[in-house]
């Protein structure tokens, strides 16, 4: 049997079951009508997708920048590390999507509130993982560097940063998935465009086939971002292939 046969079988079974039991479209559309909707509404979907993708892009970039700055600061200043790290770990367990309504009050229905949400949700795994990577260095390597009288900057550049790359990528992998969630939930709470908004709209109008089409696009965004991280990993750390960073728990 070829790989993916089960997926194919599931899709065929879904199509047949919906037709056989005459399930109404608004409850569960068959894959064929989802596909038809994907083609017919391509322009609409692409327009809303571009909005969501923009929110994710800006928010993620900000989260990476903020996470890197904070992680480096925590790695360099022990007090900051001892003080902030437990707070960050605590905040990981707090459901951050609940703050989405507050962001809408602050920044309105536009881009800002979504970018802020994406930033907030993606920031934590990046900062926490990168800090761990910068600090969890082989003690022997540090001793070796001291023998060579390496400066703090040299130790940082040649030992800590390369050591942190796999951790950073692992954090990024968690962050990209969360970023999509953040953008969609923020759009649920208050928006006038974007895939999350379109989903709610379809829901209210019971246009379930289009809703499924939105889900397919969201899935494509997720898979695309995931693949991007994979590619980034090969580019950043070709030596660490197959090496998995530690997974910090994925707090939203």
């Amino acid at each position: 049997m070829r790989r993916g046969s089960l997926t194919l079988a599931l899709i065929v079974a879904w199509e047949l079951a919906v037709r056989l039991f005459a399930v109404p479209d608004y409850l569960l559309p068959p894959p064929s009508s989802v596909a038809a909707e994907l083609v017919a509404q391509f322009a609409l979907l692409a327009r809303h997708c571009a909005v969501t993708l923009g929110e994710i892009g800006v928010g993620l970039a900000a989260a990476v920048a903020g996470g890197v700055v904070l992680a480096v600061a925590m790695a360099l200043v022990p007090f900051l590390h001892r003080g902030l790290y437990p707070i960050l770990a605590f905040l990981q367990a707090v459901p951050k999507v609940t703050v989405a309504p507050l962001f809408v009050i602050w920044m309105g229905y536009g881009l800002g509130s979504k970018v802020l949400m994406v930033f907030l949700i993606a920031f934590f795994p990046i900062a926490v993982n990168l800090t761990t990577g910068l600090l969890l260095v082989d003690a022997d390597l540090l001793r070796l560097m001291r023998c060579y009288r390496a400066t703090a900057w040299q130790v940082f550049r040649t030992v800590r940063v390369p050591n942190a790359v796999p951790f950073f990528v692992a954090g990024l992998r968690i962050a990209v998935v969360l970023a999509v969630v953040g953008a969609v939930v923020a759009e649920f709470v208050g928006a006038d465009r974007g895939l999350g908004y379109l989903i709610l709209l379809c829901n209210a109008e019971l246009r379930t086939p289009l809703l499924f089409a939105c889900l397919v696009w969201l899935g494509a965004i997720g898979v695309g971002l995931f693949a991007l991280v994979q590619w980034l990993e090969r580019w950043l750390s070709p030596w660490a292939r197959g090496l998995r960073g530690p997974d910090t728990f994925a707090g939203f």
Partner: protein, 256 residues
Amino acid sequence: MAEHSGAAWRLPWEPVLLASLLLAGWELGARALVIPEYLLPRPLSIVEVMVSHAGRMLPHLALTLGEALAGFTGGVLLGIVVAFGLAASPFLRRELQPLIVFSQSMPTAALAPLLVVWFGLGVVPKALLALLLVFFPIAANMAEGLTQVNPDMLRLLQSYRATRWQTFVKLRLPHAVGYLVAGMKIAAPLALIGAVVGEFVGANRGIGFVILDAAARLVTVEMLAGIVYVGLTGTALFLAVEALERGLGRWLVAPR
């Protein structure tokens, strides 16, 4: 993370100090700059509202917690079952892996509106969303625990002619428990998130509804009070799983 070297456990004063400084700065800054309460309420007034509105908010929180726990239980059971399937059958492993990866890179929370169409405004769609979020880390961790056993041990059991069942009970299952608990630690806050996001999309009860309702009325203090309640509950769930982990203690194999 921290290196607990000595037996004497010392109160971590740094995070407490830093958190108090941040909160004090927030309180004083908000007072000094006269920031309106609907934009950013002060910490003290949030606490005040948490106390004065406890009678109204706690029943909603209890409902949300119930939804989260129901979803958590269902998700853990389903995850364990799927993990058994994945561990037992290479065919399932090969076929389900890409599906699971796809379903995980898709934001599961986006399914919330669909669940509302299917199951109405009641408790069921919230619990189901929690279940969906919980399911993956459990299944993934448990499957890893069942399969990534020490090959030497496996060979040892083989040389004793252990049956498949014996290998499963004596080696795989005990090994997987630690992984299961680690998955539960990830999943516990997710269950709460599932319940709250489900309530965001369509509900007339629950703490998610309270938060959204307060936001609609621009009563930001109430909203933040609700958020803090959710945060405390999430932390409590996490700590509960950690307590379970400590209780199981010596049977656990630490997941790598």
